[in-house]
Symmetry: C2
Amino acid sequence: MRIPTILSFIITATLAVAQSDEATIKKIFDEALARGQSYDMLRQLTQDAGPRLSGSPAAAAAVEWSRQTMQAFRFDTVWLQPVLVPHWVRGKKEIGKVVQSRTSGTREFAVCALGGSVGTGTAGIAAGVIEVKTFDELKQLGEKAVRGKIVFFNRAMDPTRMNTFAAYGGAVDQRANGASEAAKYGAVAVIVRSMGSNLEDYPHTGSMRYQPNVPQIPAIAIATRHAEELSKLLAADAQLQFYMETHCQTLPDAPSFNVVGEIRGTDPAQEYIVAGGHLDAWDLGEGAHDDGAGCVHAIEALRLLKAIGYTPKRTLRAVMYMNEENGLRGGLEYARQAQLLKEKHLAAIESDRGGFTPRGYTVPTDAVAKQKVRSWQPLLEPYGLTDFSQEGGGADIGPLAGQGVHLLGFVPDSQRYFDYHHTAEDTFDKVSKRELELGSASMAAIIYLIDKYGLK
Amino acid sequence: MRIPTILSFIITATLAVAQSDEATIKKIFDEALARGQSYDMLRQLTQDAGPRLSGSPAAAAAVEWSRQTMQAFRFDTVWLQPVLVPHWVRGKKEIGKVVQSRTSGTREFAVCALGGSVGTGTAGIAAGVIEVKTFDELKQLGEKAVRGKIVFFNRAMDPTRMNTFAAYGGAVDQRANGASEAAKYGAVAVIVRSMGSNLEDYPHTGSMRYQPNVPQIPAIAIATRHAEELSKLLAADAQLQFYMETHCQTLPDAPSFNVVGEIRGTDPAQEYIVAGGHLDAWDLGEGAHDDGAGCVHAIEALRLLKAIGYTPKRTLRAVMYMNEENGLRGGLEYARQAQLLKEKHLAAIESDRGGFTPRGYTVPTDAVAKQKVRSWQPLLEPYGLTDFSQEGGGADIGPLAGQGVHLLGFVPDSQRYFDYHHTAEDTFDKVSKRELELGSASMAAIIYLIDKYGLK
């Protein structure tokens, strides 16, 4: 009867491990749902600190808030990691309007400058408009058609993509590169259809960049519904004149910080696990979903593990990266310091997809690590975490890839994200307490499993 | 080589079927996401018709809106099914306050009458308050402690339940039966903690019923945060006096209707499939999630199938049931008529859990039908439909169970539902267009599969 006894022992041991994981993960979720702090934290970050674009006074307030918050939770160490950030300011409210048309009167549109754009100044720019959907179309039109004009990029995000981030990826080239592409053919400015999932009356800002040795022309976003209307006006009168006025400018780089909070692991030989979100946010709203949610997810994940009495083997860090939106300086600096200090990281987990109801995780690209994460799915499914389909991490942790760190991302439901992203609508009241707290628990659960089982 | 040929044929045929289902379901979702009508319909229903409690003028407007909308979509037949409904009216705004206390001044609370309650009239009721969490506790206190008092039921929904409907099910006895249970021990009125997932400053109404031969005493709900505050005041001064005033009353039953829209199937020998939501809604809000969403899900599901050119074998119906909230008269009448007219139904599908992002379906209790529905999961998972764990349907279709009809329910994410349910916050602006349209597509997809493959 020896073999059955051994088998029985193995089965019992396996069940015991699985049951203990189930129990620990249930404790995490129970703590989050019954006594979670994410929602209160997010209210403080979004409403007390305020809009916190890199270099702004509110960004400095957010740094100090993060430091104090993690200290108040008695993390073992909390410190600031200096980083110099771009400092772009919007200036006074933008104007975008049709000023002259055979078929319509003047008509104002909801517009905003794109982040990083030069401004038109008080003189503004008035010119004819030429509408295109793609850079190919622009190329075919060529300099003859484009010179002296405002180019209007009007390709919508594909509504039929279930994952709205995929739809965003299919349209955001217009925002990121539209200005330089149009300037190559002599355009004087660009209007870009906002990156929004639906027809809306408010514009979405976001970063753009200028290519070297191409004239820097002003770039604005226009609300999606207004993009449709402008397109109709152009169809009726191709000669209409558009006036735009923006007062944005880029100031000298400003000093700022990543904020790091650490809970030390019991085994100093073990590699680190880092969870994070980005602290900076676009200036139009409160940066509630993008990415206040990610910041509080990371802080709360560590607090939850402490609260249930879990003692990690590995050192765990929550990092509030600065300047994801328009420079990524914080993510780059964190990775640089990790390399300099020879802080070997096992895994980095990012939350930068909003505070919506959890659906799963992006998994590491390494085949063994990926398989390991996917093997945990049965433990996580009871909490709605069923999507382990995508690979990769997020922008801030990207720079760690070169150090062999496994990258993962928290994946919440994506359907509402691009209603709010980079707009005045990204405010605290758009966040559901339960959805947010569940995100923090989802972060804590994956940190727990990685700490306990590694990724090999 | 005969066997491989047959095998190859079988494999090819199986793949062809699966691919055609995949393609059809993708067409449904593409149509919903690119050209869906649910959101526009919901705006009309919630904002043009207005609050539509059974018997109200707005309920009549909602009936007519449903009829016209389904006719405009050119359903084969649209008709009204008469039903007599209870007619309860709230009257002027309720008052609930602490009027006398050793430890605090007067304090007003956010309260509302529960649906079906008798009113206090202008005299109001002033009395001491006794707080309990359960009917057992009430029983132990007994008549001596309770007589002449207002009983305050203050058991919260369990926040650790992932499914908020389960948490609701664990607390709603206080609202449904609290008044009669308290009246048995001589209570003069009851205050019930609102059925809300979080701490809020607004009350949740909902139906209550009186048991036969028990005095009918007034019942109000109090906002969850205010329930906590009242509890603290009682802890400081058990003798405090509470005043409540409600002006609700039950009028004679009123004539109303279920609204039925039908697309006829090609095979008259086949049984029907009916999809539905309830048209009535509590009077405090706009009934957007409860259950305007379910109504437009049902209408749009049929419109989607028409729009993609699908010709059903079975006759499909969309039913807007009247009076789910406080009587279920519509659901009972629909089942009665189906039996009278010998309209044999194969399946009934209900959407009454809000317009949130789809998670799955409740499945039939019959083992064979359940297994069949679960076998479709791989076709539905790409749309986030992964939860096939629960059995049963919904309140309105419950009466069809006796006729052997398979009951299913659409299951959206439940995390936000009880922030809005039966409150002034259940308004159109709380609904996401993409989440709503995906719900309609989820309803259409399951109708398509049932029509094509049956449930045997």
